[in-house]
């Protein structure tokens, strides 16, 4: 008799960075996983072992018995597809699936960049600037703020008349955009958008969110 194959799912994370998206999705899906902390402050992300897994040296990365992958949005899409019974994504090929993809991509392609531009030029400790020695640039901070504003207004209009991005059902899109809103909360950018604040407060009530974010 052969022993059952060990089904390990390994998350490489550094809370509360974007690896929280994977952690939140893993908790929502009830997946048994092990966590590896990649200490960004001490440069563990630039070690050869980690670069073999994530060649950019950023978190998150995910390793299973069958594959290893990176990109926070891609990992959440994949995990949710692997657990269709949890109903966190619309049926493949449906019109709802188009909206789902749109908001999932919107999180990383539209929201993350301006929030990080603002963070990097207002809140990032000077000792951790990239490249080393760079200073905060107020023009870039303002550009981050204004780019975020255009996108926050779009989200506010959508979420103003519904519970979740896709309507009445929570989905992976709420996880991905939800973490962008978490980042906007850390930077203070979300304060001008009460609809987004209220939406995020509702997401924070979810047990899986609380397990992932350590509330």
């Amino acid at each position: 008799m052969t022993p059952p194959r060990t089904q390990t799912t390994e998350l490489y994370e550094w809370p509360p960075t974007r690896s929280q998206r994977e952690k939140w999705a893993l908790e929502e899906l009830g997946i048994d996983y092990s966590s590896h902390l990649v200490d960004l402050q001490n440069g563990q992300q630039d070690s050869g072992a980690y670069l073999a897994l994530q060649p950019l040296g950023v978190v998150p990365a995910l390793k299973t018995a069958d594959y290893a992958m990176f990109e926070s949005v891609a990992i959440v899409l994949q995990l949710i597809d692997e657990h269709p019974a949890k109903n966190l994504a619309p049926a493949v090929g449906s019109p709802e699936r188009a909206s789902y993809y749109q908001w999932c991509v919107f999180a990383c392609a539209e929201l993350d960049s301006p929030i990080m531009m603002f963070f990097d030029n207002t809140m990032r400790p000077l000792a951790h600037m990239r490249p080393a020695g760079a200073q905060h640039d107020s023009a870039l901070a303002e550009r981050g703020r204004s780019d975020f504003a255009a996108r926050a207004q779009i989200l506010s209009a959508v979420l103003g008349d519904r519970d979740y991005l896709l309507g009445r059902e929570f989905s992976g899109a709420d996880i991905l955009v939800g973490h962008s809103c978490f980042m906007a909360g850390v930077t203070g950018l979300i304060g001008d958008y009460p609809v987004l604040e209220a939406d995020h407060a509702r997401l924070q009530q979810r047990p899986a969110y609380q397990r992932a974010y350590g509330h």
């Binding site: 992958m69 692997e82 991509v105 640039d137 779009i154």
Partner: protein
């Protein structure tokens, strides 16, 4: 009816290429960015950020070039352009699809917007910040030709992969 809102050769070409690969019958609407058609109210009703591409069918309207391609490929499984849902290959497919818009585009757009489009004495903060913090994760550019290792994500790729030798022949976007 399938409608593509595009302005070649921007990222709307991703969507156009996918439509052509799949043999989808579609109508093209050129949204002139130099003429500001992207900021007209009737276009912003389709794409609230006022950028291309957007895609409209009888049942839905979406934007984000990567999202549109993912959706189109799912709608045409017989074309075999996307691995099966839930397969390990699908993980790699998602990873590289997202990599294109979230890693490559910001880095390349930094270079393009500062070296190919902005005027030399532009007030563009990215240009003024040459060699400085860059807009994103240590991505930076210099006035010299781009070489491997100049960006954090580029360290692991050979120089020819990165060299931005494509002449920009498209219409110039004013500052």
């Amino acid at each position: 009816m399938k409608e593509l809102f595009e302005f070649p050769p921007t990222r709307s070409n991703r969507t156009k290429w996918a439509l052509e690969e799949l043999g989808v019958d579609y109508t093209s609407h050129v949204v002139s960015l130099p003429n500001g058609e992207n900021n007209a109210a009737n276009y912003k009703a389709i794409h609230p950020l006022g950028v291309v591409p957007a895609y409209r069918t009888a049942t839905f309207t979406i934007f984000e070039s990567v999202a549109i391609v993912l959706q189109l490929l799912d709608e045409h499984p017989a074309a075999g352009l996307a691995p099966a849902i839930g397969s390990p290959e699908r993980a790699a497919y998602y990873q590289w699809s997202v990599f294109s818009c979230c890693e490559l585009d910001p880095a390349l757009f930094d270079v393009m917007s500062t070296r190919c489009i902005c005027r030399p004495n532009s007030a563009c903060p990215r240009l003024r910040n040459a060699g400085g913090t860059g807009s994103r994760r240590g991505v930076r550019f210099s006035q010299t030709p781009l070489k491997a290792g100049t960006t954090s994500w580029a360290r692991h790729f050979p120089a020819p992969t990165l060299r931005w030798d494509i002449p920009v022949t498209g219409r110039r976007i004013p500052d």
